[in-house]
Structure formats: C-alpha cells, structure tokens
C-alpha cells in the first residue's frame, strides 16, 4: 500500500505559505482599522464587544471544530461504524448546554463589563483564593490544550509536505505567524482568521465527501460490505455502547461549552440578538461538519475494507491521496483540504492563546500584581507571558520529559472543575464560597490522581469522578451551611441583573 506523496511537497509548501501570508494580512488589516486596539482590554481581548453574527459564529465554530475533527473522526467512524454517529448529536448538545447559562451570563457580562471567565468568578465570590485557584486551573488546562495543538500543527505540516518541511520548522513557522497576527489585532484578528479558516475547512471536507462518493461508492455500497464482514458496525449499540454514547453526550456537551475560550466568546458578541443568531446557526453545523466527516469514514469502509487500527488512522490521507490522483481539480482541492486542516488547528490554538493571555493580563497581573497599571501595560504583560508560555510549550513538544509527561495530558479533567463555580454561581445565591473552593480543589486532586494512576471505576472518565466529588462538596457544603447573609445580599445585588 503506497499512500505517500501522491500530492504535497511543493504544492503543500505553496499553500502553507499562502495561508501564512493571508493570516498576516488579516492581522494587519484588523490593526489598521482599529489603531487603538492595544490600549484597551475590551478592544484587544473581546474585539470591542462588537463581533457580528457571521464572525462570532465562526469563532464559536473554531473553538468546537479543530483539525482533529477532520483527520481523527473518520478513522473512528471507520472502526466503530454507525455507533460513532454520536458525533453529530454531541456537537448539538454543546449548544443546548450554552442555552442553560449563556443568556444570563451575557446580560451580566454587559452590565459588569466582564472580560474573562475568572472575572465572573471574582465578581460573584469576591474571594482571592477562589479567583486564583480558578485562574491557575484555567491557565494550566489551556496551556496543555495549546501544547496538543502545537504537536498537531507540526505533524500536519510535516505530513502535508511529505516531510519536506520538518516537524519543528512547521511548528515554529505557524506559531510565529499566529503570535504576530494575534498581537496586531487581538480578538478581531483571531475572529477574522477563524472565519477564513472555517470556510477553508468546510470547502475541504465537502470536496472530500463528494469526491469519495463519486469514486468510492455511496453508503449503500459500504453497507453491503459491513453487512457481510462486520454487521456490528451497522447494528444498534448494545447496553455498553449506549452507556458510552450517553457519557459522550454529557461530557462533550458540558465540557466544550465551559472551555474558557468558548465561555469568553459570549462576552464578545455585539448584542444579544447577534449571540442568539450565532447559536442558532451553530445548532445545525454538526450535520454539515461532524455528519460529513462521519460519512467519509463510513465510505472508507467500502473503499478500504479490513484496515488495521494503525492503518485506519491514515484513512483521510489515503482517501485524499487516491482522490488527488484522479485529476487536477481534486489534486488542488485536497491540497486545500490539508491546508484547511492545519488552518483549523491554528485557529483553535490562537483562540486558546488569547484567552490564556487575557487571564494573565486581567485576572492575575491586573488584579493582584499591578492594579494601577495602564490597560496598555496589562495587555503587554499578557502578551509577553503568553509568548514565554508558548516557548516553554514548544520546548516540551520537542523534548517530552518522559516520566512526568502525564501532567501535560490533563486538560478537560481540570477545566471542568471550574464548572460548578461558573454555572451554579449564576443561579444560586446561597452558594457558599468556602464550599466552592474546597470542591474545586478536591475535584482537581481526585481527577489528577485518577488520571495518573489510570484508575477508572465503572469505566467512567476521571474528570467526571472529580466533578462528582466537586459537586457533592459544593452543594453539600452549601446545604449544610449557606453563605453568610451579607454574602447573600451581595449575590442578590449581582444576580438582580434584570433590575
């Protein structure tokens, strides 16, 4: 099986250079249109709270769909068959979860000029230790998330160019470009590039689907092969499969909605109407994105039956190579697809980096180190700390430190521990600050320990065990002893947001 280098090489380099140039141009455009962007935290980190429907929609799109959706989901669909159809409803779940907290959060964000998720926690609880713990958990989770994206950029670039551009050069090239356009235009740059990157990705996956349907046969063909060789891929899931399906719906729904960069985007909407319209569009995107890549995986079963697990990981590459060999149109469409995949990873990474810097600027430096500093200075500190973090992460990506590598795996497990403070705080005035702190800390420790030791009672994910303990302590502690009357009055003042 020869799947290497049917395309790529020179064309791959050309497309990557074009993408890089375009992203820089967008950053420059955003900067020239808003010269004051670096003077104001609101301007730099939230695009002046003025993102319109289309751009806001694509920034949400970029936080939810990354390059992994295109490269990683079809192989999973290939191996699990229709049991992986769960990837369509789990993306819809994210919007459902948003609707349970975003309306109130947006209103509070407007009223109190909230900038980051930590900002909300500080306003609600007025507790230094809760604010700092939440800030550290978010920075830690975001840092590891960023690390994962960097590794994916390097592998993607190296793959697309058939190894012509080594892994390290790919990582450095795109990180320099990403930091440059983020610095130039802040959130506006990130949002505009998210839009371009999203369109490139959508174009790529649809071409891949159409080409696969045309050259490798439709779903009926794949179904015939599955019925003969692997009927379990067609069949309705058994009880174990249903449990996994259920867990995925809950995990992805809650987890992706409270990712700090996803949470922060709610504040950058121009108006409530804009936010609503973006959410409605997002509710249908799973069919056009997850649904399409799912179909590609199923068609792959008909095209290349009986691949091993390792081989199936290369499924998208195999399909793209085979299509690229057909004619010039598909050749370039596939080059664009892989460029789009890398662009999608960059667009996820830039959002994460911006949120990371905003927490440093506003919540740690601006709140505790130098509250009197100018906004320009706070932004500068956020940017510089962001770059230092990026440099450290790149070094880690190159030289993974063997035994302690696991500490870089924790992301979601840690981030989700901030959910009770973020969401219960919106609705429960009696919520006890001490209980929130203890729950968050204990949940994090349990999630980390379970992850490090590989301990998974009942097969349930470590992050969920941490969250369960977190919730028990948070809710139980509050029921046992409500917040002090003075604290409840303060909460009332904040939560009386409708006035």
């Amino acid at each position: 099986m020869n799947v290497e280098l049917a395309f790529g090489g020179g064309s791959g380099i050309l497309v990557l250079l074009l993408y890089g140039g375009l992203m820089l141009a967008v950053g420059l455009f955003a900067y020239l249109r808003n010269r004051g962007v670096r003077e104001s935290l609101d301007e730099y980190y939230l695009g002046g709270r003025g993102l319109g429907v289309m751009v806001l929609f694509f920034t949400f799109f970029a936080t939810q769909y990354s390059g992994n959706t295109v490269v990683g989901y079809p192989p999973t669909a290939y191996r699990l068959g229709y049991q992986y159809l769960v990837s369509v409803p789990f993306f819809i779940m994210i919007i459902m979860v948003y609707l349970l907290f975003a309306p109130r959060l947006y209103a509070l964000g407007r009223r109190f000029s909230l900038l980051t998720p930590v900002d909300w926690i500080d306003l609600r609880f007025r507790s230094k230790k809760v604010t700092i713990l939440a800030g550290i958990l978010m920075l830690y989770g975001l840092g590891n998330y960023l690390l994962e994206q960097f590794v994916a950029i390097g592998q993607g670039v190296s793959g697309l160019t058939g190894g012509t551009i080594p892994y390290q050069v790919g990582v450095v090239f795109f990180i320099v470009i990403m930091v440059a356009y983020s610095w130039l235009g802040g959130m506006r740059s990130v949002a505009y590039t998210d839009t371009i990157q999203g369109i490139a990705l959508l174009f790529g996956v649809f071409t891949l689907l159409l080409g696969s349907l045309y050259y490798f046969g439709d779903l009926s063909h794949a179904a015939e092969i599955m019925a003969e060789t692997a009927p379990e891929k067609l069949g309705a899931p058994d009880s174990g499969g249903v449990t996994t399906w259920f867990c995925l719906l809950v995990l992805v729904g809650i987890g992706a909605a409270i990712y700090p960069h996803a949470f922060q985007r709610i504040f950058s909407a121009r108006s409530e109407r804009t936010l609503k319209r973006s959410f409605v569009r997002m509710a249908y995107m799973p069919f056009l994105t997850a649904g399409v890549v799912f179909m590609v995986g199923i068609i792959g079963i008909g095209a290349f039956p009986a691949l091993s697990t390792g081989e199936s990981e290369q499924l998208v590459g195999m399909l793209a190579n085979a299509l690229a060999n057909q004619n010039a149109f598909f050749y370039w469409a596939m080059v664009l697809l892989f460029g789009g995949v890398i662009a999608a990873i960059v667009s996820t990474a830039d959002s994460v980096l911006l949120t990371f810097s905003s927490i440093v600027s506003h919540d740690l430096y601006g709140r505790y180190v130098a509250p009197e500093a100018s906004e320009y200075r706070k932004i500068l500190v956020g940017k510089l700390v962001g770059v230092v973090a990026v440099i450290i992460l790149v070094l880690i990506a190159w030289y993974p430190p063997g035994t302690i590598y696991q500490i870089f795996v924790l992301k979601f497990e840690v981030l989700i521990q901030t959910a009770p403070a973020l969401i219960l705080g919106l609705y429960w005035r009696r919520l006890n600050t001490q209980a929130v702190f203890v729950g968050m800390l204990a949940g994090t420790i349990v999630a980390a320990l379970f992850t490090f030791t590989g301990f998974r009672p009942l097969g349930v994910f470590s992050g969920l065990w941490g969250l369960l303990l977190n919730l028990i302590l948070c809710v139980g502690g509050t029921l046992w002893q409500s917040a002090a009357v003075s604290e409840q009055q303060k909460a009332d003042e904040i939560l009386a947001w409708q006035r």
Binding site: Y82, L85, V88, P89, I92, M93, I95, M96, L99, L100, F101, P103, R104, Y106, A107, R110, R111, D218, L219, S220, H221, A222, A223, E224, A227, P231, E232, L234, G235, A236, P237, D238, S239, G241, V242, W245, F246, L249, S271, E272, R273, K276, F279, V280, A283, Y284, P286, F287, G291, Y427, W497, Q498, R499
Partner: protein, 79 residues
Amino acid sequence: MKRRIREPVKSPVVWIGFILLFALVTPWYFPSGDFRPLLWGVPYWAVIVLGASLALSLFITWVVATQWQTGADDDEGES
C-alpha cells in the same frame, strides 16, 4: 422599572423538551444489533437518531427565538 424577562433555564417546557430529545438521540430503545431495513444504505435506527438530532436543532431554534429575552442590550440603547 420591570421588563419582561425570559430565560430558557426557567421554562419547564424547555427542560421537558431537552430531556425528551436527549432520550431520543440516545439509541437505547432499539434491539441491540438490529439494522434492517436500510434506507439509502443507512440503518433505520441511525435515520431515526438523525431525525431526533434535527428535531433537537429545531427545538433549540425555537427556544432561542421565544424563551430568551433578557433585554441586556436595552441599557446600551440597542434594539
């Protein structure tokens, strides 16, 4: 001055709808391993789950349109 506020989280209809649709997009109610008839090569149960997923998206659209009204932008003089 009291405005009319609506939040999805406070509406029983929204909760009932979400719970029902959540139950429908989870394929617990099909016999394990069953896949015929196939519709355009897709197992019938997958078609039903996709239909329920679309119903969830449509329900979300309805919730956003009718159950979410906070007047958060009124202070800014926006419509």
